[in-house]
Symmetry: C2
Subunit: 186 residues, 2 copies
């Protein structure tokens, strides 16, 4: 491998790893979690913590913690090779399964909480006799949150989704209120 080829290789590996880091950060995880997974994913052989530390320029402690997190989310697998002390890590390669699982746990839960908060606010505001315009706005927001949740759920499970129904969230007020009445509970 000559100098130029080496430069190019550094470049595409590096830019890919950084791009994955960006996406992972975008999803609310740590940038370096993405970088570690991507580095393994661009390698054909498993790597030890020491190698990752060296090749990604991170501290021993950082690598240890990142690997723990990634293992927890089953985004990589630990393996051992005879006559070698260190654990070796390989990436989970089933993107669909892996991303779906992780997003389900985190983002879906988050949206559900928002929806619950809005539902509670609606009830309180109504009980308090607040201006109906405000109550309907709370309803609108809650239905939007439910739409996001549904869209994300369907995205994750890979099922069919008619997003028209999600965006129906924004029908005129009367219809929204009707929807609300049929769906509320407690």
């Amino acid at each position: 491998m000559n100098f130029l080829e080496h430069a190019v290789e550094l470049d595409w590996r590096h830019s890919t790893i950084e791009a994955v880091g960006d996406v992972i950060e975008f999803w609310g995880f740590k940038r370096n979690q993405g970088r570690v997974w991507a580095h393994l994913y661009l390698s054909t052989s498993p790597k030890s913590a020491a190698e990752l530390q060296d090749e990604l320029g991170m501290s021993k402690g950082a690598v240890s913690m990142l690997l723990r997190d990634l293992e927890y989310w089953r985004v990589l697998k630990k393996t051992r090779i005879p006559n070698r002390r260190a654990w070796l890590y390989s990436p989970e390669t089933n993107l669909k399964e892996m991303i779906g699982r992780v997003l389900r746990e985190r983002e879906l839960h988050f949206i559900s909480e928002v929806s619950e908060t809005l539902k509670k606010a609606e009830a309180d505001a109504k009980a308090e006799g607040v201006d109906p315009i405000i109550v309907s706005r709370l309803t609108k927001m809650r239905i939007f949150a439910d739409g996001m949740k549904k869209a994300m759920d369907l995205f994750i499970t890979g099922a069919q989704l008619d997003l028209r129904s999600v965006m129906d969230v924004f029908r005129p007020t009367k219809a929204i209120v009707a929807h609300f009445k049929t769906k509320r509970r407690k």
Copy 2:
């Protein structure tokens, strides 16, 4: 209004505003941008910067900058009332239009860049004669990014989306490569 009612009111307004802040932060914007919009959205009358500063407990400078941002994204409207010096702000109430527009500009652009980076990496890796397994992994990631982009685009435009096609991204390698060949450009 007695003490308890007041407490409840504080509570649902407050929790709603914080929930909106959470969602806005989740989408990569500033928490306080969400709080400002939500505060206006829960009011039936427009508010001045001074009122927002007071009611949300923010500094003059912060409010000024937040309003500038929100106005830029057309998430609220400036109005003026005769015989009153200050500008008054009211929220954009069309959630669908507003969220769609903002997400299109930011998130769609972001995903497109990732896709471009991966496309470039694929080309470089291929040119370099890298292990085909690695090249196919780059392809897999790029197709996934394209799937995300498509899903988000359709979510935003409110069009119909068969997410099955998005998740088809993860078919066995042969099919992926075929898909890749038919879709690439340049």
